[in-house]
Homo-oligomer: 283 residues x 4
Amino acid sequence: MCRWLAYSGTPILPMELLYKPEHSLIDQSRHARMGVETTNGDGFGLGWYAEPGDPDQWDGQPALFRGTSPAWSDVNLRELSGRIHTGLFFAHIRASTGSPVQQTNCHPFRHGRWMWMHNGAIAHFAELHRELLLAVDPSLYPSIQGSTDSELMFYLSLTLGLEHDPVHAVERMIGLVEQTADKHGIPDAMQMTVATSDGVRTWGFRYSTSRRSRSLFYSTDVNTLRRLHPDFAELREVSEDTRIVVSEPLGPLSGAWQAVPESSYGVVQPGDDEIHPLVPRAA
Amino acid sequence: MCRWLAYSGTPILPMELLYKPEHSLIDQSRHARMGVETTNGDGFGLGWYAEPGDPDQWDGQPALFRGTSPAWSDVNLRELSGRIHTGLFFAHIRASTGSPVQQTNCHPFRHGRWMWMHNGAIAHFAELHRELLLAVDPSLYPSIQGSTDSELMFYLSLTLGLEHDPVHAVERMIGLVEQTADKHGIPDAMQMTVATSDGVRTWGFRYSTSRRSRSLFYSTDVNTLRRLHPDFAELREVSEDTRIVVSEPLGPLSGAWQAVPESSYGVVQPGDDEIHPLVPRAA
Amino acid sequence: MCRWLAYSGTPILPMELLYKPEHSLIDQSRHARMGVETTNGDGFGLGWYAEPGDPDQWDGQPALFRGTSPAWSDVNLRELSGRIHTGLFFAHIRASTGSPVQQTNCHPFRHGRWMWMHNGAIAHFAELHRELLLAVDPSLYPSIQGSTDSELMFYLSLTLGLEHDPVHAVERMIGLVEQTADKHGIPDAMQMTVATSDGVRTWGFRYSTSRRSRSLFYSTDVNTLRRLHPDFAELREVSEDTRIVVSEPLGPLSGAWQAVPESSYGVVQPGDDEIHPLVPRAA
Amino acid sequence: MCRWLAYSGTPILPMELLYKPEHSLIDQSRHARMGVETTNGDGFGLGWYAEPGDPDQWDGQPALFRGTSPAWSDVNLRELSGRIHTGLFFAHIRASTGSPVQQTNCHPFRHGRWMWMHNGAIAHFAELHRELLLAVDPSLYPSIQGSTDSELMFYLSLTLGLEHDPVHAVERMIGLVEQTADKHGIPDAMQMTVATSDGVRTWGFRYSTSRRSRSLFYSTDVNTLRRLHPDFAELREVSEDTRIVVSEPLGPLSGAWQAVPESSYGVVQPGDDEIHPLVPRAA
């Protein structure tokens, strides 16, 4: 299992959220409270989109910085997260559920303009791996670099139309995994919280076959956060539509964080956010 | 802070103690119970002596295998600890108190026939580093490879006669550190549990200036262990003089583990073991 | 491309061959002379069999020590290769032809009692990967850990009977790869030197579709070596049936090394060695 | 020995110079032509200053990204060097002359606004280390993190006034090293090319006691470069005062690169560049 954070809003230095809050993502790398495992020390990743018009922007693709050391001791992560200004970033700390600790297994994953990160697992993945891999579009297949269920779920979703209708694609991906597991007599196949983005909108998914999904929270409106936490300096300067989606709250911010409901997804986007039920579909 | 284990007795595979017990050293790398920090993920080390007459023996020097990744995910550590038969080995998992995560800072340290590993810290070490380094014998100085207080304590002890009278040398090393700290107005300078060996005898030290030392335990006689734990298969085959010294017990073995008293040292050796008070001395 | 060395004979410390000769494998890691690339710095591996009757022996499986750093700077490789006595070992230094530098892509690979290492490449592997992966027996599929053509060639050979008839299996594996490449219009599909062993015999294969195979050499009988090189101390103590198979000679030992002929394989075994032509077969 | 590149001028992506030229720094990491060693695979570093007014700027300090893997295979270096726009950066690839391959030994080094990188060595450094370390100002001493001669030369120069008069400080640093070596009977003590910068000006030093210094080149004026190399696209868009200082030319750009004379230093700065003799001084 893992912990992750997705940020969308006024450009900030990721360091503000990764290191400074009381229960920051870095704190969660050693002392996660709501996960299956308190330690998330099997690698990390930071993915970010440049601002529109930024000369560093590269075809709209997000940038990635990923490593295999624990996030808490990575000197480069600390350095870079204090140097990069970005209005949309993903950060992930990994706790392997069996696949090797190597860079190609670190989240977020990237394909074109899209990023993807995951907390959870496909049950009995070793048994299902081959069959699920075969379901990936052969033209996408060579882009798979690692050996995780997480990356495979990304490529299955891309195969099933992620770039055109992300929600529908993820619902079909879940359906495909559950259906494949059924054939093998494997119950409770899917356990996932997932974030994905195209650089404009960010989707957060919470789902499990057993309806006992891993935790997922989003920040409520910034005005509430400001009233409750006048001392949280970073909040003063971000716009009202800034949102954080995170595996577990960054502090004891009562009232500042809301749980994403069981089997639901949310969309963070310009204009109103949305939360809807998530329904697996036959692939 | 860190966790460590020193084994002396019938040759075994280190894997038996590092991975198999309920609260093995590998379990302690993520879930230490008695340390300042639950996570010990900043590198690891295994040091071992070959058996007398072993063709792999190399001038009586212990062999070292050290790495910077967390012990729990290191594939090579798992592999090697299941391949090497040894009757005297040290194993260490590190939680950095500030110095970089790099191989040269991983325990155990080696000099000639001697090994050394440490849990604890010298208070305000950055402030004292230069002065303590100057106290190392210039002929030993070039052998220092890392930047930890732990390795420096080893070279101070070597300077003060470790190879001839280990207890006296460690007592003088403590005295020197406390004296230097005093000059700088630093209280409670020393916090340590240390193991050192020459390949025949193993010394375990427990000490802190404040007399609130980190935990240290040793296994009582093997017969007691066997009676209490008929299911612990490895115990059946080891000799009666086999001893384990460890930062925290490897399981809820009530009666099987005894705390080393505050400000004391023990010697594991052929013949009777010894436990004595430890008294800092003017260097 | 890569460089490798297979040793079979009187137990020695691998260090003797990896570090000491003038053009040792470690020297080849920076200054290969006969390879496509002079630098082989993308990881390394050492695999060895314990002696029969050795208490460290573990089900007849070889032990592995593999890492991603360049061999020339790996402190643990230097240490371990000077500590392990073995009469049958493989050593490999990697120069990636595209797949990531990660431990799961380091040679040798292991399955049960079998080891496998490779120098070369399957042409346009990204294009053929999926189809070749599908040809692996589904029961073997979950054992594949990395993403190299080398490991896949091993699992294809296992699928095609390596454990029962290694030569026939490798010939069919080559046939399968060439046939698959043909369908995709890819010429000169296979370029390989491969070593494999079951812990008793060692096979060395040299083959390429274009009949311009990478170099492969074996040591001639030890008496010749001794006469030619009275100063090579290690040779004095090894038995007459000791053999070394290697990508390029370990020194300018004129007369001491013979090239394995184009499209051939050799067997190092108790009794007479053999060299025969290698003929790809329809899988 | 090592290779390095210092860039000052119109903001570009470091990737343009690190990866694209025929004999780019990445090419030099495996195939250096003018160095003592063709392979520079013992770690790398990139240090850069943000543009004035850049919101990511952090107290005027340069940012660092350093790693221990070979530059040619580091996925993050490739990624980041294509994302960061900067008008003043240092890039370094390391070939260790003995000190461990670890991040704290990777160049460039940083202190406040200052960066420093080095190619070369102090002769018999192990013998001189202690005495030279003692000459570092005790208030600077705790900032030393690694164990290289290169970093120590930086801290000696800081001790001797680098921040106020860089040339005078480096001349005194050389004098101090040579004087210390003399006392130990060590000839030809210093071999160095060094770059240092405060974020505005960049100094390049070339010196050796024996007057046979490692190579150092600088680009001549951009107009000449453009005329000679109409195909070098990056040149079209950079300003006329853009300069590159580099251990060896990035291609066979005859006329485009000039050697820094023996025992000299150059200053790249707004306005006219300067080249002057370098004269060691008694510290």
